[in-house]
Symmetry: C2
Subunit: 359 residues, 2 copies
C-alpha cells in the first residue's frame, strides 16, 4: 500500500503527549508515533510544547490549560484548526481529534477528513443543542469515527459514513501483574459523574481498603472538600494525580478497580488500563462499560439502579465478594486482543485507505 501524508489535528489543551492528565492528547500521541513507525509522513498540529517524531506545527506555543485559559474560550482551538485546514492540500488525509468545530473548516478543503469524536455527543432533551444541530447539517458530508459502539449509538445524529475504533492501551507501560496487593482502587477526575462517592460508600460498608487517584480541577476543590475529604480515613486514602508510570504500578497492585460511573462515558480508559495490568473492573452499566468489561470474565458490569430505583450499591458489594473468581490473566488477554495500541493504529490506517478509495 502507498504510504500516506497524514495530518493529525490534536486538541491544544494539553501537550501531546500530556505529562499527566489529557486522555485525547495521549491517544493522538500514540496514533501519531505508530503511524510514523509504519512509514507514513505524519504532521502533528498540536501545542508547541508537544514532543513527536512527526513534523510538529503549532499555532499556540504553549498548551492552553497551562495558560489558565478557560475551556469556553475557543479562539486558540479555532486558530489551530484553521492552520491545519489551510495546509490541507499538503496531505492525503486530515484526522481531526478536536470535536465539532472542525466541521466548519472541512467544506473549504478538498482533502478528505476523518473526525474522531472523543467526547460524548448526546442530547439530554429532544431539542438538540446547537453543536448537534450543526452536526446534523453536515452529517452527509463527513467521515466520522466514534470510540465505542455505545458512543456511536448514543449520538442522536446518525452519520452515514461512520466507524468505531476503540482507544488503544500501551501494554509496555500498563504491564500485566499476576499477584495484586491488598487494596481496591478508584481512578478518575474527581467529579460526581465519575462515581467516586459510590466507590467510597462501598468501601465504608465492606471495610475494604480503597485508594483514590485522580486530578482535582480547581472548580472541583469545593466538591472534594465537602463530599470526599470527610470520608477519608486510614483505609480510604486520596493519593492525588499520578503520572503514567506510577499509575501503572497503582493498577498492578490492586485487587480490583471500582468504576461505578454515573454517565455514559464514551470509552473508559481507566477500565482498559486496569485490565491491561490484570486488575478486574467493577463498573456500573453505563456507556461503554459492557464493551470494555467482559461481564463475569474480566470483571463485573452491575445495573445502575436496584429494584427500588436507587443507586445499586448492594450490587457492587455483591460482586466484590466474587472478585477472586476473575482470573487476572483473562483481563490482560482481553485488553491485548481488543484494546491494544497496534489494533487502534491499524484500524485507523484501514479507515484512511477506505476513505481514500472512495474519493
Amino acid at each position: 500500500m502507498k504510504k500516506l501524508r497524514i495530518a493529525q489535528v490534536a486538541p491544544i489543551w494539553y501537550p501531546v503527549p500530556p505529562k499527566k492528565y489529557g486522555g485525547i492528547e495521549r491517544i493522538v500521541s500514540y496514533l501519531t508515533e505508530g503511524l510514523v513507525k509504519r512509514g507514513h509522513e505524519v504532521t502533528l498540529f498540536a501545542s508547541g510544547d508537544s514532543k513527536t517524531s512527526a513534523k510538529l506545527i503549532s499555532s499556540s506555543p504553549h498548551y492552553l490549560a497551562g495558560k489558565k485559559i478557560p475551556w469556553s474560550d475557543t479562539f486558540w482551538e479555532l486558530e489551530n484548526l484553521a492552520s491545519a485546514f489551510k495546509k490541507a492540500s499538503n496531505f492525503d488525509i486530515l484526522h481531526c481529534h478536536v470535536g465539532l468545530r472542525a466541521l466548519f473548516f472541512e467544506p473549504f478543503v478538498k482533502t478528505p477528513t476523518l473526525f474522531t469524536f472523543h467526547n460524548p455527543l448526546v442530547s439530554e432533551s429532544e431539542k438538540l443543542p446547537p453543536a448537534l444541530e450543526i452536526l446534523k447539517l453536515h452529517k452527509n458530508q463527513i467521515n466520522a469515527c466514534f470510540i465505542s459502539k455505545s458512543a456511536k449509538k448514543l449520538c442522536p445524529i446518525k452519520i452515514p459514513k461512520s466507524w468505531v475504533v476503540y482507544n488503544g492501551i500501551d501494554l509496555d507501560l500498563f504491564k500485566f501483574n499476576p499477584q495484586p496487593r491488598d487494596y481496591f482502587i478508584w481512578v478518575g477526575r474527581v467529579e460526581p459523574k465519575k462515581g467516586i462517592e459510590n466507590a467510597i460508600r462501598v468501601a465504608e460498608i465492606t471495610k475494604i481498603r480503597l485508594y483514590l487517584a485522580g486530578k482535582i480541577d480547581p472548580e472541583r476543590m469545593e466538591y472534594f472538600e465537602k463530599n470526599i475529604k470527610p470520608h477519608l480515613s486510614e483505609k480510604i486514602l486520596y493519593i492525588g494525580e499520578l503520572p503514567q508510570k506510577k499509575l501503572a504500578k497503582f493498577y498492578q497492585g490492586a485487587i480490583a478497580c471500582l468504576n461505578p460511573i454515573e454517565w455514559p462515558e464514551p470509552f473508559g480508559l481507566v477500565m482498559a488500563e486496569s485490565q491491561a495490568c490484570g486488575t478486574p473492573v467493577i463498573a456500573f452499566d453505563f456507556g461503554s462499560a459492557r464493551e470494555l468489561v467482559k461481564n463475569g470474565k474480566t470483571g463485573f458490569v452491575v445495573p445502575f439502579l436496584n429494584k427500588r430505583g436507587e443507586r445499586n450499591i448492594e450490587g457492587l458489594i455483591g460482586v466484590i465478594k466474587n472478585i477472586k473468581k476473575i482470573k487476572r490473566i483473562n483481563c490482560f488477554n482481553w485488553v491485548k486482543g481488543n484494546f491494544s495500541l497496534e489494533k487502534m493504529i491499524k484500524n485507523y490506517e484501514k479507515i484512511y485507505y477506505e476513505i481514500l478509495g472512495k474519493y
Copy 2:
C-alpha cells in the same frame, strides 16, 4: 463606478432589522438597504426571520436570542460565517459585522473582506486575551473598520489597514423637535456600566423628573430589583424597553439625555439618536463621548472623577443647570453633518472601492 456584488454578514442574535434591541443588526440593516438603493447587488447573511430587499441567505431559520441560546455558544455564529465565506467567490467584497471569529475563515478565500468591529476590543491587563492574540496573528492580512476613533485607539493591536466609520442615525425616524416637555431621560441596557445609577443619583439630588428606558436582561433582573427599583418614585420612572418609534418620541420630549456611562463605549448610539431629536446629551468622558457630543455646543462631556477621585456627580449637576444654553437645533445639525445614514453608507462604499483598488 462599477456596481459591486457585496455580502453583508450580520450577527444572528437578533433579526435584521431587530424589533427592539439589537444595535449591530440595526446598523447592518440600514447599510444593506442603503447599498441596495445605490444599485449594488447585496446578499445579506442573517437569521431567517430577517427582512431585507437584498438577497437573504440564512443558516439559522431563527434568531438565536429568541431560541434562548446562550451568548457563549458560538456554533450557529460559526455556521453563519462559514456559509458566507463558502460563497465568497460570488462576491466582490465581504463585509463582516460579527467580531473576531470571522478571522479564521478569511484566509480560505480570495475575496477581500472588511471587518467592522462593533464591540470593543480592549484588554484590561497587559496579557492579551486569546481573541486579541489571534487578532495580532492576523493583523497584517486584514481590512478593519472601527466605529469611532476612540475604539480604534483603545484596541491594543494596531492594524495597518484600518478605518473609522461612524454609525448612522435614521433622521426620518429620529426627527428634530424644537420644544421639549419637562423631563430628562436615561436610555440603555440596564446594567452598571451604562451609568443608570449615576443618572438616578443626579435626579435625586436635583429633583428633576427622570424617565429610564431600556432592556433588562434576565441575568440583570436581580440588579434591577436591588439597585434600581428602590429609587423609583413619582419623579423617577422606569418605563421599560421601547420600540424605535416610541423611543424617538421619548427622546424628542426630553430636556436632556443623561449618559453618565462608566465604560469606553465604542459608539454611543443613544447619544447620537438623542441629539438627532434635538435633545442635548450630558455624558461622562468615556470612549466615544467626546467624538459624539460637541462639548458646550450639543451637550456636555464631564470628567468621570472629581478632585477627590470619586464619581463626579457634582460635575453632572453643574452642567444640568446650564442645559438651557444648548440650542437644540445645534444638536440636530451636528448629527446630520456627522452621523447620518447617508454618510455611513457612502463611507463604507468608499472603503470597498479603496480595498478593491488595492487587490
